[in-house]
């Protein structure tokens, strides 16, 4: 292979990625444009909230509890070396509300609900259901894609808040009930250090952004999947990989913006 070939290959990769990104952006625009049906006939979206949000509850609640409990144990172990085990509340709450809540909940959401959305839309495409819908003069983006997209966008912040709340409870369970950190200072130090706007609202904003990212990637990969068994399985994998990377990258960017001055 000559150097020119290598360069050509590199160029081809870059342009095809860019082309795909542009295509995905256009798709997002179309989804937003055709969201009228999903919002007017909200029953469609409610149904999808059931499949994406409600069915993700168990995994989110249980993981949140365990993450909080681990934070309690590890945080206590470190903090008591410096004699400040009362700050356990701060450590647990801040790490959950600012970072772990939105990020881990979004990662779980991508693998639980995002992959399901991709597989469902991909299979609908493979079995010509989307084509059939189009032939029945019903826009599949409005009828299939937009409700799933909005369901994801609505579910994500709620799931992240539940994850954080469960995590704080888990930290409280381990720190206060099991190890015996003073309950009063656990809560009061937490409340003194966690700011509503700076920490909690920023966490909520993060989870909204992740909700848009994951839902967008999931519906796009499903819609763009090759209509074969192999194509759908690949698209599902791509959803999980791409959205995980997107979540972590976006998290860095958002964190850099939000907590710059502190």
């Amino acid at each position: 292979m000559t150097p020119a070939d290598l360069l050509r290959q590199l160029g081809h990769r870059v342009t095809s990625r860019l082309w795909r990104l542009g295509f995905a952006s256009r798709f997002l625009l179309m989804t937003l444009l055709y969201s009228g049906t999903a919002l007017k006939r909200f029953q469609l979206t409610i149904r999808e909230i059931y499949f994406t949000g409600v069915l993700s509850l168990i995994i989110i609640l249980v993981s949140g509890l365990f993450v909080g409990m681990v934070l309690g144990l590890q945080g206590y172990d470190t903090l008591q070396r410096y004699g400040s085990s009362e700050a356990l509340g701060i450590l647990v709450a801040l790490s959950l509300v600012r970072e772990l809540g939105p990020v881990v909940a979004a990662l779980l959401f991508a693998s639980r609900a995002g992959s399901a959305i991709t597989a469902e839309i991909g299979l609908m495409k493979a079995t010509e259901q989307l084509s059939a819908m189009e032939m029945m003069a019903v826009n599949p983006i409005a009828r299939v894609v937009a409700p799933r997209f909005w369901a994801g966008v609505i579910s994500m912040p709620l799931l992240a808040a539940l994850f954080s709340a469960m995590g704080v409870l888990g930290g409280w369970l381990v720190g206060v009930q099991l190890i015996g950190v003073d309950e009063g200072s656990f809560w009061s130090q937490m409340q003194a250090a966690v700011d509503f706007r700076q920490d909690i609202m920023n966490g909520v904003i993060k989870s909204c952004v992740f909700g848009v990212l994951v839902s967008w990637i999931a519906v796009f990969e499903g819609f763009d999947a090759d209509p074969t068994a192999e194509g759908v399985s690949r698209a599902t994998t791509r959803t999980v990989v791409t959205s995980s990377l997107a979540i972590l990258a976006a998290d860095f960017v958002l964190t850099a913006f939000m907590f710059r001055g502190i």
């Binding site: 079995t127 259901q129 059939a132 819908m133 009828r143």
Partner: protein
């Protein structure tokens, strides 16, 4: 107006990535008739259907449905036209997350403001017409292939279309379901006064029900005529196709280099590294 054929296809060309799929297709589908498009897999039959349905745009030429040029319609016009078309997909393409009842009711709910009671009556009527009124509570996964095809047919006639397109309606059916579906196509066509296009490679079954046949090969029309004409045709390709002969103009072998020469060659590199 009514004497004019429902669908007219003029000098239709279509190519995909500069690979010609269809060239110079001329077809006429008169009102109230069933027209079959036959040919081997991959000869452009389904592409023709998609061009009629407006899912693809022709490279040149035009498809006219009820006097309108399909590819010149805007989105709204296209959707308005599609409401007057029904399409039966190869394996039914039923919505797997809805019951049989909801599948048939789908278009009525999307496109009309009919009250729920009237939709209920209409759905049961359509299901009755295909003999599956008792199955309205089932999910598509619980249906056999033939039943799914019939539900899809009920769904296709939900809004009383002018034209129904069938994409391989006989593929993968047992002989009994095959006759049932065949007869349903004929009966619905005559009872509802609609026109039908049947894309198929099942010669014997379709010749029983259709009025006119177009034969396609390699993106061109190679023969046309009534069912009788086709049966009696002496054209070698049509003869081979209708009677299912192995020898004829269509080769069993995919085009290849001379057998002896290829056997002497060194084995080539595998196409994929894992092969």
């Amino acid at each position: 107006m009514s004497s004019e054929p429902l669908v007219q296809i003029r000098d239709l060309n279509f190519s995909y990535d500069s690979r010609a799929i269809l060239s110079g297709i001329n077809m006429v589908i008169p009102r109230g008739k069933i027209v079959a498009i036959m040919g081997l897999s991959g000869c452009g039959k389904t592409t023709t259907l998609r061009l009629v349905g407006g899912q693809l745009k022709p490279s040149s030429g035009a498809v006219r449905v009820a006097g309108q040029v399909v590819h010149e319609l805007d989105n709204e016009g296209l959707y308005a036209m599609r409401r007057r078309m029904g399409m039966l997909f190869q394996f039914g393409a039923l919505f797997t997350d809805m019951s049989v009842y909801d599948n048939v009711a789908f278009q009525m709910r999307e496109h009309t403001d009919l009250p729920a009671e009237m939709i209920h009556d209409l759905v049961l009527m359509k299901l009755h017409a295909v003999g599956l009124r008792g199955a309205h509570d089932l999910m598509p996964a619980e249906l056999s292939g033939g039943m799914a095809r019939r539900v899809a047919l009920a769904r296709a006639i939900a809004l009383d279309p002018l034209l129904i397109m069938y994409d391989e309606p006989f593929a993968g059916l047992d002989p009994i379901s095959l006759s049932i579906v065949g007869e349903l196509i004929r009966k619905l066509n005559d009872a509802l006064g609609i026109s039908s296009i049947v894309v198929t490679h099942d010669v014997q079954e379709s010749l029983k029900i259709v009025d006119y046949v177009y034969f396609m090969a390699g993106g061109k029309i190679v023969a046309e005529g009534t069912a009788e004409d086709i049966r009696r045709s002496t054209e070698p390709f049509v003869h081979q196709f209708v009677w299912g002969e192995i020898d004829g103009p269509m080769n069993f072998h995919y085009p290849a280099a001379a057998y002896g020469k290829e056997m002497m060659e060194q084995p080539g590199k595998p196409r994929r590294w894992w092969a």
